[in-house]
Symmetry: C5
Subunit: 100 residues, 5 copies
């Protein structure tokens, strides 16, 4: 999986019938430090991610291994919302959660 | 999925028999801002996309998950026509639809 | 699929038994304009492509969806010989076919 | 497979239900000499790898071929801890194992 | 498939149980001219390749289509030892075989 930041939404009315009802999010890939990269993916959201969330996304056939995306022409899925990650002992990101 | 712009067509008379009747479109990959990139894919069209349309395409095994491409030697499929997408609150593309 | 130009052949006597009898072609990937790129693939030919032909090739699991390559350790297959393609209204390649 | 170095951990409470209980490690890809590269992957650990370990990781559908990751939306798995590797006759890495 | 040169070996004692007994070779990817590139893969050997051999390797799910790698978390396999290949009529490599 790679880490991305949800930066937007995409609307597509005319689509493969198997994709009806799917919500597409635009996810910008970030590097190991959490910085933006030019890479992105349009992914189906299975975990109610919101704009600004850092997420884990899977691509390729693994993107079809959720109940929502099973046997669908979908090659990108958000399968987790990231709380925090660290590299070489340094916290690179910490999700803000009001007083919890 | 990635966002692309349909820029042309490709004709191939001699092809694997499973691919008979398929329509190939040349799709230029665009970046998250909607700008052209050097990358492209030749994809099978399942949603009646036209030249100039911005589309979502899936690659790899996911490209075989449509009725049209099932069990075929096809690794790229257009599975949606994009109406609009936005990034960081800014609309990057809006499909022109005459008075509708 | 991507567009490539068949530039050569590769011979491998010692190979996985499932690959016996396969013909390997060296295919140079071309860009959307038909120009050479540094990328290449060694692909199994299923459509009797010849040296110099522009072809469509599929990679990954889709490369196993032909009768010839089914269940074989093959991740690249030529599945069509290109007649012509165009981009933004301009013909980028036209296969020469003597008086037909 | 590629060689990586385990550099950190990632926590994600909200995730696809199939991923419950999975441990995510941040793995930095190294080159053939063992040097860091900018590439990374967040992988599920199946071999009790620790921070600092050099590991082998598999991506794509192969990442689902362990008991732990079977049929899960996971496209990266650590499937071995590297003891040593050599290139052109030179040892590039040797795992330190106290007096064994 | 891509062409690589076997440059070394990798040892990993602690590994996924399905990978027991596998032999890992370090394979440096070469370009279409046979020159080294920075890319590499650690692949399972199914054809008794030796150090210095030029080989064909398959990646992704196709790497699991040999008897040895079936259903294993393996995404790289050497499936042929290259004898020779040519590009644009020029031989780029010829395996040395003493008087045979």
């Amino acid at each position: 999986m790679l880490i991305g930041r949800v930066v937007g939404t995409l609307v597509a009315t005319r689509k493969d019938e198997k994709m009806e009802g799917m919500k597409f999010l635009v996810v910008r890939q970030v590097d190991i430090e959490g910085r933006d990269t030019p890479a992105y993916v349009v992914a189906v959201d299975t975990v109610q991610a919101g704009i600004g969330d850092y997420v884990l996304y899977a691509t390729g056939s693994s993107a079809r291994q959720t109940v929502l995306t099973d046997r669908k022409p979908c090659d990108g899925v958000i399968m987790a919302v990231v709380d925090t990650w660290e590299v070489d002992g340094q916290v690179k990101y910490q999700k803000f959660t009001p007083e919890s």
